[in-house]
C-alpha cells in the first residue's frame, strides 16, 4: 500500500500533511532568511514554541491511537512521554562533560552535589547518541509491554485500566522526585549545552530540531494512518466496539491491544525526546497525573479516532494555554475545566466532528 493510496480516502490527512510541509519549510526560512527588523521575521522563541506544539501533537497522535481507535483510555501516557524525555536528557547531560559547575568529566552536577563517586549502571552508555536514541524508544516501549501484558491478559478494562495507568504515572512521579533515584530529583535534568556537537542555543540547531520534529510528526502520522488502515488496525477498532464478540470470533484480543499500546508508547517516548532539547529541561512534574489527563482532553477537543483531529486539538489547546497563562493566568484553569465539561457534554466527536456534521448538513 503506497502513501498516495493510503491518503486517497483521507482528505483531512492530506490537508494536515500539506500544512505541515508548509510550516516545516516556511517558518524556518522566515526565521533564517529575513532580518530581525522585518515584520515577517519569526523569532527563535516563536520557532521553539511551535516546535513544542508539534511535539505535543505527536503525543496527542499516540493517545488518539490507543483511545480513539483502541478504546483504551490511558491516563498515563505522560509517563511514556517523560521517560523518552529523560532518556534524551540523560544523553545531553553526559554531553555536558566537564563544562558543568563542578567540572567533573564523568558525573553530572547533581551527582557531584550528592557526593556520588561513580556513575550508576543505568547511566552507562548514554554518552553515545545511538544508544540514547534506542533507549528513547525502548524504555517506554518495554514499560508499556510489561504493563500492558499484565493488564490486558487479566482483562482489566475500561475505568479500571484508566485508574491503574494513572497510578502508574503517579508512582513514577513519586519515584523520580527522589534524589536517590539518580535522575536529578526535584530539579530534573537541565543546563544542557549541545546535541551531537551543535550548541542548543545556535539558530541552526533550533531550526534543525524544528524540522526534525515536523518530519517525525509527518512520518508518525503516515505510520499511524497505515496502522489503522491495516488489518491489525481494523481488528483493534473491532475490539474497541465489541471486545467479547471479537474474542469469540477467534482473535487474541490481548495481543492486538498490547501491540497498539506499545506502539503508542513508543511514539509518546519519541515526542518526549524531541521535546526536551527544545525546552531545555525535563523534571518529574512531567509525570504528574494532571499532565496525562490534559493530553486526553487535547484529543477530545480535536475529535477522537481521526488522527488529524488529535493534532488540531493539541495545537489549539496549547496555543490557548500559552495565551491565557500570559494574559489571564487565573482564568486558565477555569477555561480548561469548562473545556473538559463542555467538550464531553456537547462535542462528543470534537471539533472535527462538528466540521463534518456541518458539511453533512450542507450536502
Amino acid at each position: 500500500m503506497g502513501i498516495s493510496e493510503l491518503l486517497a480516502r483521507d482528505a483531512g490527512g492530506r490537508v494536515f500533511l500539506t500544512l505541515l510541509v508548509l510550516v516545516g519549510v516556511f517558518l524556518p526560512s522566515l526565521h533564517l532568511l529575513l532580518p530581525e527588523t522585518s515584520p515577517l521575521h519569526i523569532s527563535a522563541y516563536t520557532l521553539t514554541l511551535i516546535g513544542k506544539y508539534l511535539c505535543y501533537a505527536l503525543l496527542a497522535l499516540a493517545v488518539d491511537l490507543v483511545w480513539g481507535f483502541g478504546g483504551i483510555l490511558s491516563l498515563g501516557h505522560g509517563a511514556f512521554f517523560a521517560l523518552g524525555g529523560y532518556a534524551m536528557g540523560m544523553h545531553m547531560m553526559r554531553q555536558i562533560g566537564d563544562r558543568g559547575v563542578y567540572g567533573n568529566p564523568l558525573l553530572p552536577d547533581f551527582m557531584v552535589f550528592l557526593n556520588w563517586t561513580e556513575l550508576p549502571w543505568y547511566w552507562l552508555g548514554f554518552d553515545r547518541f545511538w544508544f540514547a536514541a534506542l533507549m528513547v524508544l525502548l524504555v517506554p516501549g518495554s514499560l508499556a509491554f510489561v504493563f500492558g501484558w499484565l493488564a490486558f491478559r487479566s482483562r482489566v478494562t475500561g475505568v479500571y485500566l484508566s485508574i491503574i495507568t494513572q497510578a502508574l504515572t503517579y508512582a513514577l512521579m513519586l519515584a523520580f522526585f527522589r534524589n536517590e533515584m539518580g535522575f536529578g530529583g526535584n530539579n530534573g535534568l537541565t543546563d544542557f549545552k549541545d546535541i551531537l556537537g551543535f550548541s542548543l542555543q545556535a539558530d541552526g540547531t533550533r531550526v534543525f530540531l524544528f524540522v526534525t520534529t515536523a518530519l517525525c510528526l509527518g512520518l508518525a502520522y503516515i505510520a499511524c494512518r497505515f496502522v489503522v488502515s491495516s488489518k491489525l488496525g481494523r481488528v483493534v477498532v473491532a475490539v474497541r466496539d465489541a471486545e467479547s464478540r471479537t474474542r469469540f470470533i477467534g482473535y487474541r484480543v490481548e495481543w492486538f491491544k498490547l501491540w497498539i499500546f506499545v506502539f503508542s508508547a513508543v511514539l509518546a517516548g519519541l515526542a518526549g525526546a524531541l521535546y526536551v532539547p527544545q525546552v531545555g529541561i525535563i523534571n518529574p512534574g512531567e509525570f504528574s497525573p494532571l499532565n496525562s489527563l490534559e493530553l486526553v482532553i487535547w484529543v477530545a477537543v480535536g475529535g477522537r479516532a481521526t488522527l488529524y483531529g488529535a493534532v488540531l486539538g493539541a495545537i489549539l489547546v496549547n496555543y490557548s494555554k500559552t495565551v491565557f497563562t500570559a494574559i489571564l493566568p487565573e482564568v486558565w484553569l477555569f477555561a480548561l475545566g469548562a473545556l473538559f465539561v463542555l467538550v464531553t457534554l456537547f462535542l462528543p466527536n470534537g471539533l472535527i466532528g462538528l466540521l463534518s456534521q456541518r458539511r453533512g448538513e450542507r450536502a
Partner: protein, 592 residues
C-alpha cells in the same frame, strides 16, 4: 517568640560576669541550708548570709531573728516582702532572695517563680513594683503579681527585667518542684516528681525519699519509686544496687532505659563501664526483657499509626465507595469535594473564633450540606447526561475538579490556610514510657469508624438505602417498581459527596488546607475502593485499613515515598490477579 529569644540572649550575655560565682554560692547553699522536707512549711531556718568574715555569727543571728520575723508577718505581707527583695537584691544575692521567696506559703509564689523561670519577671522603673509581662508588638502587657490582675501595659524602656542565668534557672526549677511536691493536685505532684527525677542529685533524692511514705496517689508513688531506684543504682552498697535494678524490671521509662543501657555499655578497649559483674549481668537480663517489651510496644505504635492512616484513607474513599462503588460513577472531583469540606472548617473557625473547641461540631454538618449540594449540582448538571459513558464521565468530572480548585484559589488565595485544632484533640495519652498515642489520630480512627457505621446504617436500614441498592442492582426493574431513579441518583450522589465533605473536615485536622488537598488523595482513594472491591462498603473498610497498616509497616524499611510506591505497585499487580478487588460482588450485580 522574638522577645523570648532576645531575652535568653540577654541572659547568656550576662553569664560570664556572674555565672561561676553564683554557681559556687548555690553549691554552698545546697550544702549548708538544710530545709526541712515538709516543703511549704511556713517556718524555715534562715538563709545564711554570705560574708567571709562573719558567717557563723550571721547564721546564729539569723536563726534567732528571722523565724520570729516570718512568724510575725501575716501571709500576704510575707509574700510582698519576699518578692520585693528580688528587685533590691544585688545580682550576687539573687539566689538567696529567690530561695526565700520559694519558702513563703502563698499561692502567688508559684506564678512569680514561673515568671522568673520563663524570663518575664520585670520591675516597673517608676513605681518599683514587680510584675510579670508578656510582649505585645512593641511593648509589654503587665500582670501585677500581688493582686494577680492586669497591670496595664508598658514600653520597653519603662521596665527592667530580673534576669537569671542557667545555673539559677535550674535552682528555680528545683524550688518549684519542691513546692509542688506537697501540692494538693496529684498531677502537679507528678510533674514535680518528674522534674526532681531529672535533676537526680542528692538533695532531690532525699526530698523524694521523704515524700515516698506519705504519698497516697498510685501513679505518683510509682514515679517516686522509679526515681529512688534510679538513684539507688548509683549507691555504694552492692545489695542496694541489685535491689534497685530488680525494682526497675519491666519499667519502660526512658530514663530507666538509658540508665540500664549505661550499665551494660563497654568502652572502646572492650572493658566494661560498670566494674561489678553481678550488677552488670542483672542489668543485662532486665534489659533484654525490656527490649522485648519495647518491641511489642513499637509494634503497637506502628499498628496505631497504620490504623490512623487507614482511617484517613477510609474517610477519603468511603464517599467514593458510594458514588463509584454503588452508582458506578467515576467522580474525579471527589478530592475537591473533600477540599471544600476542609475549607468549610476554615470558614467556620473564622466565623466563631471564640468557640474553636466547638467549631468542628458546626463544621461537620455544614461541610456535609455544602459538599452534598455541590455534588447534587454536579450530578444534575453534568453526570446524568453521561450515564453509561464512564470514560466521558471521568473527563467531565475532572474538568469540574479543575474548576473547583481554581474557585478556591481565587477566593482564598493559593496559599495554605491554617485550621486550628480544638484543645480536646491535641495532646496525647501516655500508655507507658515507650508508648504514647496522639489524641488527634485516635479521634480520626473513631471518627472514621463512626462515619462508616453511619453510612452502612443508611444503606441497610433506611428507605433511601433500599432504593439506592435497588437502582444499583437493576435500574429498569427499580423504575418499573415505581422508584424515581432520577431522584435516587441525585440523592445517592449527594450522599457520597456530603461524606467527602465530612472527610475533608477530618483531613483539615491532619494536613495543610490548600487548593491541592484533594488531588493528593484522589489516587489513593480510588486505590482503596478498587482494592477493597467495588460496590462493597466492607471491602473499603478492610482495604483502607490494610493499606494504611501496610504503608506504616513498610515506612521504616523503605522510607515514606518508596513505601507509597511499593503499595501502588502492589495494587497494580493485585488488580491483575483479582480484577474485582478483595471482595468482589457476586451474582447478577457483578455484571452491571
Amino acid at each position: 517568640m522574638a522577645s523570648r529569644v532576645a531575652a535568653s540572649g540577654h541572659t547568656m550575655k550576662s553569664e560570664p560576669r556572674i555565672g561561676t560565682k553564683e554557681a559556687d554560692i548555690l553549691m554552698y547553699r545546697m550544702t549548708f541550708s538544710r530545709f526541712p522536707a515538709s516543703v511549704g512549711g511556713r517556718c524555715t531556718s534562715p538563709p545564711p548570709r554570705r560574708r567571709s568574715w562573719g558567717l557563723g555569727i550571721w547564721i546564729i543571728i539569723g536563726c534567732l531573728l528571722i523565724p520570729a520575723l516570718v512568724r510575725a508577718e501575716p501571709e500576704s505581707t510575707a509574700f510582698v516582702n519576699a518578692l520585693s527583695r528580688l528587685k533590691d537584691a544585688p545580682t550576687a544575692d539573687l539566689p538567696e532572695a529567690i530561695e526565700r521567696l520559694a519558702t513563703v506559703d502563698d499561692p502567688r509564689v508559684l506564678a512569680a517563680l514561673n515568671a522568673l523561670l520563663e524570663n518575664r519577671l520585670y520591675v516597673v522603673k517608676a513605681s518599683g513594683r514587680i510584675v510579670s509581662g508578656t510582649t505585645t508588638g512593641d511593648g509589654f502587657d503587665l500582670t501585677d503579681l500581688e493582686s494577680g490582675q492586669s497591670g496595664g501595659s508598658a514600653g520597653r524602656f519603662d521596665i527592667k527585667k530580673i534576669a537569671i542565668n542557667n545555673t539559677l534557672r535550674n535552682a528555680v526549677k528545683r524550688l518549684i518542684a519542691r513546692r509542688e511536691l506537697g501540692a494538693e493536685d496529684a498531677g502537679q505532684r507528678l510533674q514535680a516528681v518528674q522534674a526532681l527525677t531529672e535533676q537526680a542529685d542528692d538533695e532531690s533524692t532525699s526530698l523524694l525519699r521523704a515524700r515516698y511514705p506519705l504519698e497516697k496517689d498510685a501513679a505518683v508513688r510509682t514515679a517516686i519509686g522509679t526515681a529512688l531506684a534510679l538513684a539507688d543504682i548509683g549507691s555504694a552498697d552492692k545489695a542496694t544496687r541489685l535491689q534497685a535494678i530488680r525494682a526497675l524490671e519491666g519499667n519502660l521509662d526512658q530514663q530507666v532505659r538509658n540508665k540500664l543501657a549505661e550499665l551494660v555499655e563497654t568502652r572502646e578497649d572492650g572493658s566494661f563501664v560498670e566494674p561489678d559483674a553481678d550488677v552488670r549481668n542483672l542489668a543485662a537480663a532486665v534489659n533484654s526483657n525490656l527490649e522485648l517489651k519495647l518491641q511489642l510496644n513499637h509494634l503497637a505504635e506502628t499498628l496505631f499509626f497504620g490504623l490512623s492512616l487507614g482511617a484517613v484513607l477510609l474517610l477519603a474513599a468511603i464517599g467514593l465507595a458510594i458514588t463509584f462503588g454503588v452508582m458506578g460513577v467515576i467522580n474525579m472531583a471527589h478530592g475537591e469535594l473533600m477540599m471544600l469540606g476542609a475549607y468549610t472548617t476554615y470558614v467556620v473557625q473564622l466565623l466563631m473564633p471564640e468557640h474553636l473547641d466547638w467549631s468542628l461540631f458546626v463544621a461537620i454538618p455544614a461541610a456535609f450540606v455544602l459538599s452534598g449540594l455541590v455534588g447534587i449540582g454536579i450530578e444534575r448538571g453534568i453526570i446524568r447526561f453521561l450515564y453509561g459513558r464512564p470514560l466521558e464521565t471521568l473527563l467531565a468530572t475532572f474538568g469540574v475538579s479543575l474548576f473547583l480548585q481554581q474557585v478556591v484559589r481565587s477566593i482564598f488565595s493559593p496559599l495554605n490556610r491554617s485550621v486550628a485544632t480544638p484543645s480536646w484533640m491535641s495532646g496525647s495519652v501516655e500508655i507507658n514510657g515507650a508508648l504514647s498515642l496522639t489524641l488527634n489520630r485516635f479521634y480520626i480512627i473513631v471518627f472514621g469508624l463512626l462515619v462508616f457505621w453511619a453510612l452502612l446504617a443508611i444503606l441497610k436500614k433506611t428507605r433511601l438505602g433500599l432504593e439506592v441498592r435497588a437502582v444499583a442492582q437493576n435500574r429498569s426493574m427499580a423504575k418499573a417498581m415505581g422508584i424515581r431513579t432520577d431522584r435516587v441518583d441525585a440523592m445517592t450522589f449527594g450522599l457520597g459527596s456530603g461524606v467527602a465533605g465530612v472527610a475533608g473536615v477530618a483531613l483539615s485536622q491532619l494536613t495543610n488546607v490548600g487548593p491541592n488537598l484533594g488531588q493528593a488523595y484522589i489516587v489513593d482513594s480510588f486505590m482503596v475502593v478498587v482494592f477493597g472491591g467495588v460496590g462493597n462498603l466492607w471491602g473499603t473498610l478492610v482495604g483502607g485499613m490494610t493499606l494504611g497498616v501496610a504503608n506504616k509497616i513498610l515506612e521504616p524499611f523503605a522510607g515514606a515515598v518508596l513505601a507509597k510506591i511499593l503499595i501502588l505497585i502492589f495494587i497494580i499487580v493485585f488488580i491483575q490477579k483479582r480484577p474485582r478487588g478483595l471482595f468482589p460482588q457476586k451474582g447478577r450485580a457483578a455484571e452491571g
